[in-house]
């Protein structure tokens, strides 16, 4: 599903980072561990094509994404990759439903209302469909963000510190949801985190 080989990145200030190779098959999950500043986010951005100018190769679903450029890369990202961030970054001007529909719209996929209902129900927030973002609690908002990431059934989900802003209860809930969804949708899951609470949930771990 995703395979990287001899990846390295040079920061504008000249500092160079070399990253370990990653090899995940469908529905496989992996933690990316490391202290703040160890390059977890950079690694994640490289793997997902948000950041360019690296050396090495990345294959996702058989596509060599380092060779994709401009709109083609944007398009690929929209269709094959889902993102979850520490802060949810939902678009506050839109309702929950419209936030979710942005995902297929921007990826150029058909917008299906049933799919929105299905995912929201799966995440236990079916009643929040028409809510405004400001009305959600932090845990609910994070689940909406997860719903948005998985709506297109991406081949791979990248999560950057998805639980560090959550309390223990919500943390537990979110990591279990992510793991469930990953195995249900046959999506690979990579979680970059320094949250020690996650270590017990996912056995495969890469430390930077």
């Amino acid at each position: 599903m995703i395979r990287s080989a001899s990846l390295s990145y040079q920061y504008p200030n000249g500092k160079q980072l070399r990253f370990p190779d990653v090899n995940l098959s469908a529905a496989e999950q992996c933690l990316l561990l490391g202290e703040s500043g160890s390059g977890k986010t950079t690694f994640l951005h490289l793997l997902s094509g948000l950041l360019k100018s690296q050396q090495g190769a990345i294959h996702i679903n058989g596509h060599e994404i380092t060779k994709l450029k401009g709109s083609a890369l944007d398009h690929f990202r929209g269709q094959h990759i889902g993102f979850i961030f520490q802060r949810n970054h939902l678009i506050s001007a839109l309702s929950v439903k419209n936030n979710l529909l942005m995902s297929p719209y921007l990826a150029g996929l058909p917008q299906r209302s049933e799919r929105v209902d299905e995912v929201l129900r799966q995440l236990g927030i079916g009643d929040k469909k028409n809510s405004r973002i400001q009305e959600l609690s932090q845990g609910q908002a994070q689940r909406v963000a997860i719903a948005r990431a998985i709506l297109n059934k991406p081949s791979i989900i990248f999560a950057d510190e998805p639980t560090s802003a959550l309390d223990d209860k919500n943390c537990e809930l979110v990591i279990e949801l992510l793991a469930d969804i990953s195995s249900q949708n046959k999506s690979a899951l990579i979680i970059a985190t320094h949250d020690q609470r996650l270590k017990s949930h996912i056995p495969k771990q890469i430390t930077l």
């Binding site: 950079t42 951005h45 993102f83 961030f85 970054h89 678009i91 942005m102 921007l106 948005r148």
Partner: protein, 419 residues
């Protein structure tokens, strides 16, 4: 979801800002629209009303007043001219047609004009009911006069001296409505037509009231050589006076020779409607230009305000933009979305402005007698309004291009890593 509903929701999320920008632009656009409507309609009305009249001859005074009084019926007469002297000019070989006007009285603010039927026929007047006046003290009235004063055929009324309803009234003489004209969208809609003799008769009575029985009423029976200007009056009658005479040239040569010929006579002057209205417009032009300039300042400020609003809101929306990029939005799409936001704002502003402009003109037309009489109508639309609309969309484009470029250049990785 689509780009339009995304942008729409962004605008709705900042209602105060959005409304302020729309109001700001709409005020500027409204002023421009009002000026446009007034200018267009004044010009149309002036050309329509001055059609077929090359020269106005009247008593010495302000030539502009002569035109305003005798063509647009908006000012007072400059004085009277002697009928015999006027006839001399009417007989000139350069004159194709000469129409006498005798002013002085009004009824409920509508001017009564003693003239020949040639005058209303300049405006292709058609009788809707009844017929043209024939006898002395018979009148044919314009459409607006009939509608506003509820006058019907065979109704009688007495006139008052001057143009206002509270002038000295001539109670002894009764005018009788013989006909009502069809609406013509020109000045004749607001006029009451009668023969020159009727005006004389009313004022003879008037003088008799003052001077007792000194002068007997003139009789119009023994006419051997009828006047060229006023049928039924002896030619060369030196006692009769009229207010003015409208002249149509036989050839362009008239424009060169006739005004000089008239002005050389000590008691009369000639004024050209084309020249005087052009002068009037250049006098008004200064005021109009200032208003126009003011409108453009408003529009410029609204453009600036839209720019600042977009620029600031994009700072708040950096994460939105980065997230959208991560979900597959291309740079071009974000660029277009910001442009769309600016253009949508100016579109609504322009639309509101155009509606406001027409509304104000319509209200003015309904409330002010002057605009009504000048024939200003707020419900007429002009091609130029498309230019205003397109110009506004361009303004939106220009105001949003820098913020849009900012959105285009969003560094996804940097923004997302910065949390």
């Amino acid at each position: 979801m689509n780009l339009f509903s995304l942008v729409w929701n962004y605008l709705k999320a900042r209602p105060l800002n959005t409304v302020l920008n729309i109001i700001l632009l709409s005020l500027g656009i409204a002023v421009i629209t009002i000026l446009l409507i007034f200018n267009k309609q004044l010009e149309e009305n002036i050309t329509r009303n001055a059609k077929g009249i090359d020269l106005v001859v009247g008593a010495k005074g302000s030539p502009l007043q002569l035109i305003l009084c005798n063509i647009f019926h908006m000012d007072f007469p400059t004085g009277n001219i002697n009928l015999a002297e006027a006839e001399k000019i009417a007989k000139n070989r350069l004159v194709k047609k000469a129409i006498p006007l005798a002013l002085g009285d009004s009824y409920q603010g509508f001017r009564i004009i003693g003239t020949t039927i040639d005058y209303p026929q300049l405006y292709e007047a058609e009788v809707r009911e009844g017929g043209w006046y024939k006898e002395v003290m018979e009148v044919t009235i314009g459409a607006n006069v009939a509608a506003q004063l509820q006058l019907r055929l065979n109704d009688e009324f007495t006139s008052t001296h001057g143009l206002s309803a509270d002038g000295h009234s001539h109670d002894a003489m009764h005018f009788k409505v013989k006909g009502i004209l069809q609406k013509s969208q020109s000045v004749i809609d607001n006029l009451i037509f009668t023969s020159v003799q009727s005006i004389w008769k009313v004022h003879e009575e008037h003088e008799e009231e003052e001077h007792g029985e000194e002068e007997k009423a003139h009789d119009y029976v023994a006419v051997t050589n009828s006047s060229l200007l006023v049928p039924g009056v002896e030619a060369g009658d030196t006692t009769k006076e009229i207010t003015s005479m409208l002249i149509r040239y036989r050839s362009p040569m008239g424009a060169i020779q006739l005004p000089r010929f008239v002005n050389s006579q000590s008691t009369m002057q000639a004024a050209s409607p084309a020249f005087e209205t052009a002068r009037l417009f250049s006098i008004m032009g200064v005021g109009l230009n200032i208003l126009n300039g003011f409108a453009f300042v408003l529009i410029f400020i609204s453009g600036l305000s839209i720019f600042i609003a977009l620029y600031n809101s994009l700072k708040e929306r950096r994460y939105d933009l980065a997230i959208m990029r991560s979900m597959g939005a291309t740079k071009q799409k974000l660029f277009v979305s910001v442009i769309l936001e600016g253009v949508l704002l100016t579109f609504f502003g322009a639309l509101a402005g155009l509606i406001l402009g027409h509304l104000v003109v319509t209200l003015l037309g309904n409330m002010l007698e002057e605009t009504q009489k000048a024939g200003i109508n707020g419900l007429v639309f002009y091609v130029d309004e498309w230019i205003i609309l397109v110009g506004s969309l361009l303004l939106g484009l220009v105001s949003s291009v820098i913020p849009a470029f900012q959105a285009y250049r969003t560094d996804i990785s940097k923004v997302l890593a910065g949390n």
